[in-house]
């Protein structure tokens, strides 16, 4: 699905929806994303009552349970500010699936539609709304990129990360084979079909490593946990990093960043 992003004045305030995975398993990625946004002069609001987008229940066929959780998130964003999400699949849930989830509830449906229009995946927001121009402050390096399936197919944002990395003069982005193929996470799929999931994750880890990159990057917490967990189990030192952390480090953290 392609998104229409209207040209308008640069927003001054945004809501940050961290996602439950980032909150609990990779908080530094959330922190780095917030700091990048703040460095761009944005006031970042973190609604304290946020929990989870409800996706695990929704994709498992438990729509009622997903609705209970999702309804709570719909109430978190009273101001008409953009909602920025550092994960393609959770952004996809809010953008793509919330309107369907509440199709039979006119009040919630209106809320879901309104929210859907202002939910942005982090890379999309940086590139298309803020139109950032990063300045590289690191040593030359080679990286490779894994884009989550939701980012690619639900948010249509798979090119944004690549474009952002293209702004970093010392970073060479290497292509892996079967680039668009799923890493095999799939939420509960990874525990329901562990053998197939392991085969997919193993192939993805192989393909990423084979590029010869120093690190692989992804803007999705689920894929990172899956591929990194697989590499660690193999006692392989190759690792993935959240794109936000990589950018924050490469652009000199608080010291610079803007071209």
């Amino acid at each position: 699905m392609q998104r229409n992003i209207p040209d308008g004045p640069r927003p001054t305030d945004i809501y940050f929806f961290a996602t439950c995975l980032v909150d609990l398993f990779c908080p530094e990625a959330g922190m780095d994303a917030i700091q990048i946004l703040e460095r761009e002069g944005i006031r970042v609001h973190f609604p304290e009552n946020q929990t989870c987008c409800g996706q695990p229940a929704y994709t498992s066929g438990y729509a009622d349970e997903a609705r209970l959780v999702a309804a709570k998130q719909l109430d978190l964003f009273p101001e008409d500010w953009p909602v920025v999400v550092p994960s393609g699949s959770c952004a996809g849930m809010m953008f793509h699936h919330y309107p369907k989830l509440f199709a039979e509830d006119p009040v919630r449906k209106a809320q879901a539609d309104a929210l859907s229009g202002r939910v942005f995946e982090l890379t999309e927001f940086l590139l298309k709304v803020l139109k950032v121009q990063f300045k590289d402050a690191g040593q030359p390096t080679k990286v490779t990129l894994h884009t989550s399936c939701s980012a690619r197919r639900e948010m249509g944002t798979h090119l944004h990360a690549r474009e952002l990395l293209g702004q970093l003069s010392g970073v060479e982005v290497l292509m892996q084979s079967h680039e668009s193929e799923c890493c095999g996470f799939g939420g509960t799929f990874s525990v329901r079909q562990p053998e197939i999931s392991a085969a997919m994750a193993g192939d993805k880890a192989d393909a990423l490593k084979k590029t010869g990159a120093e690190v692989f990057l992804s803007a999705d917490g689920g894929c990172l946990m899956n591929i990194n967990g697989t590499l660690e189990k193999r006692r392989d030192s190759f690792r993935g990093q959240h794109l936000a952390s990589f950018i924050w480090e490469r652009t000199g953290k608080n010291n610079g960043g803007q071209a």
């Binding site: 961290a18 439950c20 980032v22 909150d23 609990l24 398993f25 908080p27 959330g30 922190m31 917030i34 304290e48 009552n49 946020q50 929990t51 989870c52 409800g54 229940a57 994709t59 498992s60 066929g61 438990y62 729509a63 009622d64 349970e65 997903a66 209970l68 959780v69 309804a71 709570k72 369907k100 399936c149 939701s150 690619r152 197919r153 639900e154 668009s180 193929e181 799923c182 996470f185 799939g186 939420g187 509960t188 799929f189 990874s190 525990v191 329901r192 079909q193 562990p194 053998e195 197939i196 999931s197 392991a198 085969a199 997919m200 994750a201 193993g202 946990m225 967990g229 697989t230 189990k233």
Partner: protein, 481 residues
Amino acid sequence: MTTQPLQFVPGSEFKRRAAKVVADPFLKKSFRGAMDFLMAKRAAQFPDPELLERQRTLAEHIRRYSLARMPQLLEQLEANLVKNGVKVHWAENSDEANAIILGICRQHDAKLMVKGKSMVSEEVELNHAMDAAGIDALESDMGEYIVQLAGEKPSHIIMPAIHKTKQDIAKLFAEKVPGVAYTEDVDALIQVGRDVLRKKFMDADIGLSGVNFAVAETGSLCLVENEGNGRMCTTVPDVHIAITGIEKVVEKLEHVVPLYGLLTRSATGQAITTYFNVITGPRREGEKDGPREMHLVLVDNGRSQAYADEQLRQTLQCIRCGACMNHCPVYTRIGGHAYGTTYPGPIGKIVSPHMMGLAATHVLPGASTLCGACGEVCPVKIPIPDLLIRLREEATHDAKPGHAPLVGQGAGKTTFASLAFKGFAFLYSRPALYRTFVWAATRFRFLTPGKQAGWTDSRTPLKPAAKSLRDLLAERENRGS
């Protein structure tokens, strides 16, 4: 030739069989290679993404238009076929379809049937029924012939023997075809098949075929094929029986053109097939060839169940190109036989529950990462991931009030899963409780179990961070940053 017993296997076996294939490095390499080849062939046919998008939208609209009028179109189709001299039969399920075909065979005292490729005949297990009645039903499509000779079922809807290597086939022919020596020369192998089949076309009493599109307005049956065996089956024997699902009907001939163009490009990456047959009745007076008698068997077999629901009806838009399986990372890993269904891969996961019931198939909709590759390539834009989610819901819940239950409704219900998701909803819809949970999970992270069902088979355990994002933000606030 005697038909081998079928290897019909229930869906509950899925996990075991999938695991077996995944552990076989030879099969893994072979499937990967075949699917890479097919994906590249398809991609080469669609260089312009915008044009493809317009073509898919048109095809989707034609299929939706046809389905919206399906009952009337089927009546019109029947009336026009009858006018053209074709006998039309309706079969609610596999048994009825087989009984109808057996009845026709008996009327003609038939001993030998040659078959063109037909997935619906696989679906109703026609070969098995013919074998039981003492009638030889011989597959004449090369892939189907190989699969039949090996006593197997197709592993792909377009390329039934895709799981077999050249060496497998060489061995099979040397073992099963009298007077054939082992050779890995592909042309020689194809010639073996041709020699065997050529004679059978002449001897056969009945020719059986599938149908790709049934045109209501003209009463025509369109058959898409590459080998010419379809044309032989439908013209050489005295009696031609066509079998198809009721969803294959379209209103007009001109609706076939865009669908055909997308079908061949999506399936095998061909701009057009070698043969395209439009069959509008048996041999007419004065004509020198063609069957003297022609039948069409229209099969429901669960399609009405999908049809009755607006969302599930989209399943019936399918034109059976197989692109979803070629692009599916799960199919690529496990091949078609693991599914235990006539139709494997993503389309199989959404269509089989209607044909076989959810009791036998409830595992299948769950065996997907919902990566969306299938929906992305589907030429008629079936939202396969959405339908997988819907069937996951139907498999684990009773029917909603006002909705007729699906066959096998709720068969995948488990107390564990339903409690787990109730627990999920309880925790994640109570922000204060969730915060307490995150606080505890980070403080007591040393208690994280080292073994986590399924996950840690191939990964290190998931362990909460020492400090949550909330903690980090609160610390920063306190530092006055």
